[in-house]
């Protein structure tokens, strides 16, 4: 019951405010339009749709918008303060809020990716069911990892300004070929969806890395909030 009480606030922030919904709708429309235009030119495939705009831009920005929405545009401490004043452990409240943001991010990114695959799928692609299953597994992990990474960023700065720093670091470090890039979710998301592998890691290793980033980010988020 307490877990539900703690999760209720971030869930309602996602459902009842436009902070997450408007960017989500905007990026969905943009990604679908881009994919359909590419399809008209005969240049669309599921891989190109996901690697063209989805992985580099849409996925991180949708995850960012969802985390912002779940936290009410604040840092994690301010976002959970209304709950801790009722006696909730600040760490548990931060963990519950982070989990809601992470799950919502994973689900939203997956649904969006499935729409893109459906829109871009052509006869040269693998069977649709296989494509959808692989996309679900990869984007669920990628969306969740991005969400958790941005939640961790939200522990920094007065109003969660570290979230924006995490978004930029994800792009800059993830685009570099250095070993450091395995620390950010962008590298592994790209590798799982058919792009360049992360350094020399295999696809399953990238999947484990995404799971690791998710768990470590949520744990660090909880630890960074004082008891």
């Amino acid at each position: 019951m307490t877990a539900l009480a703690l999760a209720r606030l971030p869930m309602m922030r996602l459902v009842r405010t436009r902070r997450a919904a408007l960017p989500l709708l905007g990026w969905t429309a943009f990604a679908l339009a881009w994919t359909l235009l590419a399809r008209q030119r005969g240049a669309a495939s599921a891989d190109s749709a996901l690697l063209g705009v989805y992985v580099p831009f849409v996925l991180p920005l949708v995850a960012y918008a969802i985390v912002s929405g779940a936290l009410g545009g604040e840092g994690i401490v301010a976002a959970t303060r209304p709950l801790s004043r009722f006696g909730a452990s600040p760490r548990l409240a931060a963990l519950a809020t982070g989990l809601v943001a992470t799950l919502a991010s994973g689900i939203a990114c997956t649904v969006l990716a499935l729409l893109l695959v459906l829109a871009a799928h052509n006869s040269a692609d693998p069977p649709l069911a296989h494509d959808l299953a692989l996309t679900t597994y990869a984007t669920l992990l990628a969306g969740a990892a991005h969400g958790a990474f941005f939640v961790l960023g939200s522990t920094l700065g007065a109003h969660g300004g570290g979230r924006s720093a995490a978004l930029i670091a994800n792009w800059l470090i993830g685009a570099s070929p250095a070993w450091l890039s395995i620390l950010v979710p962008y590298t592994h998301s790209r590798a799982l969806l058919g792009g360049a592998p992360a350094v020399t890691l295999s696809e399953p290793a990238s999947a484990w890395c995404l799971l690791g980033i998710t768990l470590i980010s949520l744990t660090l988020t909880s630890l960074r909030v004082r008891r």
Binding site: A5, F86, G87, A88
Partner: protein, 307 residues
Amino acid sequence: MIDVKAVTARRAGVTLAPTTLALAAGRHALLGRPEDGASLLLACCAGEIKPRRGTLTVLGADARNPKTRARVGWIPLGVTLPDVLRVDETIRVARNLRGDPDVADAAAVALAPFGLEALARRRVDSLDPSEVRAVALAEVLASKSVSVVLLEEPFVSMAAPAALAIPRLFAEKKNTCFVCSTASAEDASLVATDFALFDRGRLVRIVAEAPLRPTREKPRIHIVTENARTLAAALAQHAEVEHLELSPRGVLASGSDVDALASAVNAAIIITEVDVIRMELEPASLESLRADAASPPPTPQPKEAAP
């Protein structure tokens, strides 16, 4: 319930000198402006600010412990409630987190004493700050778990029906420790029965009586009436009334001797036959209380009996 031992703290230019204080069940006021440290000590009691030195326990435990927080109602001036939840949802979440039993009409029960039932279905982010404070206070007073209520400036930014109900509800609720921080001696005298006076970060005095007794400041009587000018004209005839002032709701009369002043006011009311809505002795101002604390006025000597 609250035990403060040699506590020092600092926040945004305000420093609290070592303070020792014990507050049991009852109604207490920490009297002083924000820069005097009264609200800083209140925030320390709420676990919002960690004391730099000393020990501060609330209900026998660290004030920052979540289990302690569940039993403490903390209502600062800028209190935050879950923004997107409705008021009834907020009260249910609060009851759940505090460990109170879940009841269907929890919001109605909590809001009724303040006459704020109409707010139950409103979202918290649609309320104005005074309504948010009133809802926060209603939630705290309805909780069975809360044993300590910490309220910053009880009558500032507080919805009018709640402000009217506060003195009565505080007096009714026994076995609870109410602590208010305020810069107004008048507000303090409405909600508290003892007063800790703070001056520039120091606890200078604890008075176990309403701060209404004579100080160096001349006593003032406030008469609330609709015929203020008629009454003022009659009061001006009395030598005991040394100063007269029209207030927005009536007349303020001051003089050196409180008994003579009261007699003059009574006589003027009888002569003019004005309807008096309320008559009260104005509390001493914060400045005069501080001046007294710095150097107490000489106690009047009993008059010698005539041979």
